[in-house]
């Protein structure tokens, strides 16, 4: 089976089924915004949502990750996490799936990161394709992430009265087979999917004023652009943009002792290149001084460096950095200004 169909009235039944299979995380409302949470009550699951405050990265790359347990005397290290649990991320937008693909590339690169790989191994992703823009901040079309590009086990598309589900892995197939309310898609469903995609073309338009290759070239030329001064002047160095980014993964390492003061845990915790001590060495030299340099670094880590290294843009187009910025730094605006300047 390649495509399956589930009627909307049967969705809750399926969610109950998924909940029994593994730990289930799904979006739900929190005041006027949305968050991913473990599902306790199915009725809380909200599929009509704009990107959550934090991307689902908090589940496969936790804010505070145990690396290992240690003992000072006698010197000993041991596993901190005995077993990683199976879990399902439900209703993930294509932009956030692109974020997971970026993280995969980073943590699979030699030397590999076992903590990430272990969590990734236990993950099942059930995606949900967006049929309209979340808000004015997204730039998913320019990044090519407004349509599914793999990286999921199942992908749901809303066809009005039902969801059509693209089955993309064996893991995914197991979750839709043997259930009398999920049936193989018929030709009419496939045609409906085609119509939906055609309709999408009318709604989703490239947000940048030039194709990605031009954006890359603009970045290549603009390292010393005065624009970074402008961005730096606005920035308040809060680090929100990096915390909410699905492809930011910089971290710090932290030891926490138990009361015995002989045993403890070593953690890795999210860190941000926007913090002023991020590149400072013990001797006092700061190798990335100034908010303008640090903001520039963040942008280059999305549109230049990973393209050189992995042939992959690390901006997914989710729009979170702009949505969350207290100083009103707007990614689409910055990139378009850069494009304009590079044209000269």
């Amino acid at each position: 089976m390649k495509y399956a169909v589930i009627k909307k009235e049967d969705l809750n039944k399926w969610l109950e089924h998924l909940k029994k299979k593994a730990r289930l995380y799904a979006p739900r409302k929190k005041e006027n915004l949305f968050i991913f949470r473990p599902v306790k009550d199915i009725s809380e699951v909200c599929l009509d949502y704009i990107p959550t405050i934090l991307p689902p990265k908090k589940y496969y790359y936790p804010q505070k990750e145990k690396l290992f347990r240690f003992k000072i005397n006698p010197f000993k290290t041991s596993k901190a996490i005995p077993k990683f649990e199976d879990y399902i991320l439900f209703g993930v937008h294509t932009c956030d799936i692109a974020g997971i693909q970026c993280m995969d590339v980073v943590f699979r690169e030699n030397p590999e990161d076992p903590n990430y790989l272990n969590r990734k191994d236990k993950m099942i992703i059930i995606g949900l394709e967006c049929l309209k823009y979340c808000d004015e901040y997204a730039n998913c079309t320019s990044m090519g992430n407004h349509i599914p590009r793999g990286g999921y086990d199942l992908m749901m598309v809303d066809l009005g009265k039902a969801f059509i589900i693209h089955i993309n892995s064996e893991k995914g197939e197991k979750l839709v087979t043997g259930l009398n309310y999920i049936k193989e898609a018929k030709e009419e469903d496939m045609l409906a999917l085609e119509r939906v995609r055609e309709e999408k073309k009318k709604i989703f338009k490239e947000e940048f004023n030039a194709p990605l290759q031009k954006v890359y070239e603009a970045f290549d030329k603009s390292f010393n652009s005065p624009l970074w001064q402008e961005v730096g002047k606005k920035c308040v160095a809060c680090g929100n943009c990096t915390a909410v980014c699905p492809t930011c993964y910089c971290f710090d390492v932290l030891d926490e002792m138990e009361l015995s003061l002989n045993e403890g845990l070593r953690y890795r915790i999210w860190n941000s290149c926007q913090m002023d001590d991020f590149a400072k060495v013990a001797g006092g030299e700061d190798f990335r001084k100034g908010r303008e340099a640090r903001q520039r670094h963040r942008y280059y880590r999305k549109f230049k460096y990973p393209v050189d290294k992995f042939n992959r843009y690390f901006c997914t187009g989710c729009g979170r950095c702009t949505r969350t910025c207290m100083a009103g730094i707007n990614l689409v605006e910055t990139v378009n200004l850069l494009l304009k300047e590079a044209e000269k």
Binding site: L67, F70, E109, Y249, V253, D308
Partner: protein, 288 residues
């Protein structure tokens, strides 16, 4: 895609877990720098290249990148020289013979010793720069006939801060190595040169095409020394530097050590000037 079996194997062991290292010798070299000789379990060799570094762990305090100052030809142990400058190094200074530290590594790319075979070598060490360079110097001494002329320019602020005093004296006596030393400020006993290390460079006699110049020192030193060395017409890729950066993992992940798109912990800390030149503005050490 990586094969699943290989992946599963790798997922069992963590590159974040340090090995056990026992301090078998420790003493103060100067007021601020302490020397440690460390033995790994079963006296296994660290297997490093000159110029590489290790992450030293003290549980409860954290981890820091420290240059290895012994040569891989020194077997059964390795050596570190640590300046007391931060939280971790302060705690490290309180340790002595018999104490245990955590060691991960070696990490990074060392000096290109294989490429340097047959070439003359000019070593410029400023302040703590002699620490990683001692590894190279000891390696060269051990394989002396693989290299051409070797000269060392050594500089530090005051005579009191001079590291490896006895060893330096020994090097001075050796006929096959030329050593020149200078201090920024002399004291009453000092009889050598006074002045910045850059003042020694114009006077050196080298054949630029046949010379590798290896420079290590504080960040501020590089651009001035590189400018002097460039005047000598040494080719860019034969000017070698080692750069200091903040590091948390050594695995090319945590992001702290990045210069533009390059992770210093994996691609460095040793770079040549041709690589440095490619940086657009984040590399402080690049000559103006």
């Amino acid at each position: 895609m990586i094969e699943r079996e290989i992946l599963l194997e790798k997922m069992k062991t963590s590159p974040y877990k340090p090995m056990r290292g026992k301090i078998i010798q420790a003493y103060m070299l100067t007021e601020k720098e302490k020397f440690f000789r460390i033995e790994l379990e079963n006296k296994i060799n660290l297997g490093h290249e000159p110029g590489q570094f290790v992450m030293v762990s003290l549980f409860g305090y954290g981890e820091a990148p420290i240059s290895i100052c012994s040569s891989p030809t020194d077997k059964g142990y390795f050596e570190l020289t640590v300046r007391n400058v931060g939280l971790l190094t302060n705690a490290l200074h309180k340790l002595g013979k018999g104490d245990i530290v955590g060691i991960r590594g070696p990490f990074g790319k060392g000096f290109p010793i294989d490429n340097m075979f047959g070439y003359d070598v000019m070593i410029v060490a400023g302040g703590l720069g002699i620490v990683p360079l001692r590894s190279l110097i000891r390696y060269i001494m051990h394989n002396r006939n693989d290299f051409g002329n070797v000269q060392i320019l050594l500089g530090c602020r005051t005579p009191k801060e001079l590291l490896f005093k006895d060893e330096t004296k020994e090097w001075m006596k050796r006929a096959e190595i030329k050593l020149n030393c200078t201090v920024d400020r002399a004291d009453e006993e000092w009889q050598g040169n006074v002045g910045l290390i850059t003042t020694l460079i114009p006077g050196v006699d080298i054949n630029p095409a046949r010379t590798y110049c290896v420079i290590v020192g504080p960040p501020i030193m590089y651009r001035f020394v590189i400018a002097e060395v460039l005047k000598k017409s040494i080719p860019d890729h034969q000017i070698i530097v080692s750069l200091e950066r903040r590091m948390k993992c050594g695995l090319g992940k945590c992001g702290h050590c990045q210069i533009e798109g390059v992770y210093v912990c994996q691609s460095g800390p040793v770079f040549n000037y041709a690589q440095l030149k490619n940086f657009k503005g984040e590399c402080h050490e690049k000559a103006a």
